[in-house]
Amino acid sequence: MPSSSDAIRDFAAREYKYGFVTDIEADSVPPGLNEDIIRVISAKKGEPAFLLDWRLKAFRHWQTMAEPRWPNVKYPPIDYQAIVYYSAPKRQGGPRSLDEVDPKLLETYEKLGIPLEERAALAGVAVDAVFDSVSVATTFKEKLRELGIIFCSFSEAVRHHGDLVQKYLGSVVPYRDNFFAALNAAVFTDGSFVYVPKGVRCPMELSTYFRINAAATGQFERTLIVADEGSQVSYLEGCTAPMRDENQLHAAVVELVAHKNATIKYSTVQNWYPGDEEGRGGIYNFVTKRGLCEGENSRISWTQVETGSAITWKYPGCVLKGNGSVGEFYSVALTNHRQQADTGTKMIHIGANTRSTIVSKGISAGRGQNTYRGLVKIGKSAEHARNYTQCDSMLLGSRCGAHTFPYIEVRNNTARAEHEATTSRIGEDQLFYCNQRGISTEDAVSMIVNGFCKEVFRELPMEFAVEARKLLEVSLEGSVG
């Protein structure tokens, strides 16, 4: 009698869908990290003195720091001297149009289901695609330009908008912030830059696809988004990575600044290679993301769907400085096989009448370990601040784990913080009920998990929500039994 556990085993045998390597000659520096390497990176990118100076300060500070040991994750020590810190596809002076882009690269995007030109034309999405640290294609720039919106690679921003970069770089995540943020500040190679001027509503979703390619190349992206007074922008970040054996370090930094009455919505679908069933390979995703609600009534909203990476360590947070500012965090984190995630958010209330909402959905399957870690800090000046936290965990199978570490610090008597938490399990009775209606176990699991994540998915832009659902299905391989 074919049982539902057979179906699950078949499902489990599927391979990571996005595992392939593009064969492109890379222009890399030798492995290792010292001041000379940093100077080489800076020189290759033709950077101004202030930036080199900042990198060197970050590097010197990083040398005094120790890798954090408090996250609830386990991994062998990382040899920072074995990592290649710069790798660029060999073609100098960036392509001006898609025709100039290496066809192999476009093919890679095709395989990933991201036809740049189509996506751009059909969905009205401008794509700043990052392939191994250097931007290769930028579209819709002209249209955005007319509105005064700057959307370009970080390197380009350094060249053409040095004053803006200098003003905001490190203003939300200073290089001293933490070990990985310091490392990123020292060696970051590229990323995206967005500036939306006063009163402008960005007419399209801005989107970047990241991809790690050259072997053993750490990726150190840096993204900076500034929304000036009364402006609005929605930014999508999605990533998939090719399959490989050795662990790859990914230590990105994202900084958001929202001025008075401005709104920034930042959505992530993260699907880095998670490693194989035994936990070999896979990306270490150690990311620092933070938004500053600088002005009154500004709003920053983080939505993330984290299904990939061997280890995820990230706490996208909001510093609610402006009175009446709003911070939101909606998260789905799924760990399967031997994946580990320690993720959550930080909401720092400084201004009066500031509000924050946290909705976190953790799903653990296989031998996955999922930790929610959140900080809600309400300072003395935050009169009538409010926080609502909802933290739900779902367990699939009996070998996985879910952990919750909520930290709440309130220093103002008029403030209110609420915390709700649940833990559930996909029951045999739920699966049987679905089976009895003709739904296969595989489909039932993905339906139940999708239902569990609904509150987060509805925060995602349309196309992204569809993608996220598919991603969950693929990531749930071998989840029960």
Binding site: C434, Q436, G438, S440, I448, G451, F452
Partner: protein, 256 residues
């Protein structure tokens, strides 16, 4: 349509069904009655294919096929429907979404085209009227926060949409007040047809005032102790199960 021969089944090593024989033809309504613990629900779960119940002997033929060979979802696709005694909740998944997924799996299995959202909605409206279920309920998470009566009505509604060949109702009357009972029974009666058979499992006779069975079987200690027409149910109502239990044990004394 359904031929159960000498069916034995156990759960957690305890033998619950100890040789059931039953034949159900298309269009017939059979009622299975019996005291608590006699194996009524076990029979429904075994027929629906729940893996926690292990069949140790006997066979079940469904339209000439070995039913026990099929997984639970295949049985459903072949037209076996179980209205649960305790319907489960699935947070974040609406009844409509769930039911469309179910209907389309069944259709796919049968080589039919999937129903698009518009056609599905039309079907749902029609069937919702049939069982007097509120449209609004169907957009809420499946069974979450539903009253006992709403859950049971939802089971009958799903049955109406999926149009099974063999419908098993497991104590659908339990926990229902008299109005809810009437509505649920009306829904079932509207679904009676010459092609469709029903197995109505109930502890009390009162449901059978509304759903009039062709045959009544009394289950005692995992065996059918007596079969008869609808008047058997009335006799049970009057005399209880005690006399049948005594009779059954006289035939084969329970070892101490």
């Amino acid at each position: 349509m359904l031929e159960i021969r000498n069916l034995h089944a156990q759960v957690d090593g305890h033998e619950i069904l100890r040789g059931i024989n039953l034949t159900v033809r298309p269009g017939e309504v059979h009622s299975i009655m019996g005291p608590n613990g006699s194996g009524k629900s076990t029979l429904s779960q075994v027929l629906a294919g729940r893996e926690t119940y292990v069949v140790t002997d006997g066979e079940v033929l469904y339209n000439g096929r070995n039913l026990l060979e099929l997984a639970a979802d295949e049985r459903a696709c072949e037209g076996v429907f179980l209205a649960f005694q305790y319907p489960v909740e699935i947070p974040g998944v609406s009844t409509n979404y769930f039911l469309r997924a179910a209907l389309n799996s069944v259709r796919k299995y049968r080589g039919q085209d999937e129903l698009d959202a518009m056609d599905f909605l039309k079907l749902v409206r029609e069937k919702a009227r049939l069982v007097e279920i509120d449209d609004k309920l169907l957009n809420r998470s499946l069974n979450e926060g539903f009253s006992g009566g709403e859950k049971k009505r939802n089971e009958v509604f799903q049955m109406a949409v999926l149009e099974p060949a063999l419908a098993i109702l497991d104590e659908t009357d339990s926990g229902l007040d008299i109005d809810a009972l009437r509505i649920v029974a009306d829904g079932v009666n509207k679904l009676r047809s010459p092609e469709r058979a029903f197995l109505v499992i109930t502890h009390y006779q009162r449901l059978l005032n509304y759903i009039v069975p062709d045959h009544v079987h009394v289950l005692i200690d995992g065996r059918i102790a007596r079969s008869g027409g609808k008047e058997l149910a009335l006799e049970l109502e009057e005399k209880g199960y005690g006399w049948l239990e005594k009779e059954a044990r006289r035939v084969e004394p329970v070892s101490a």
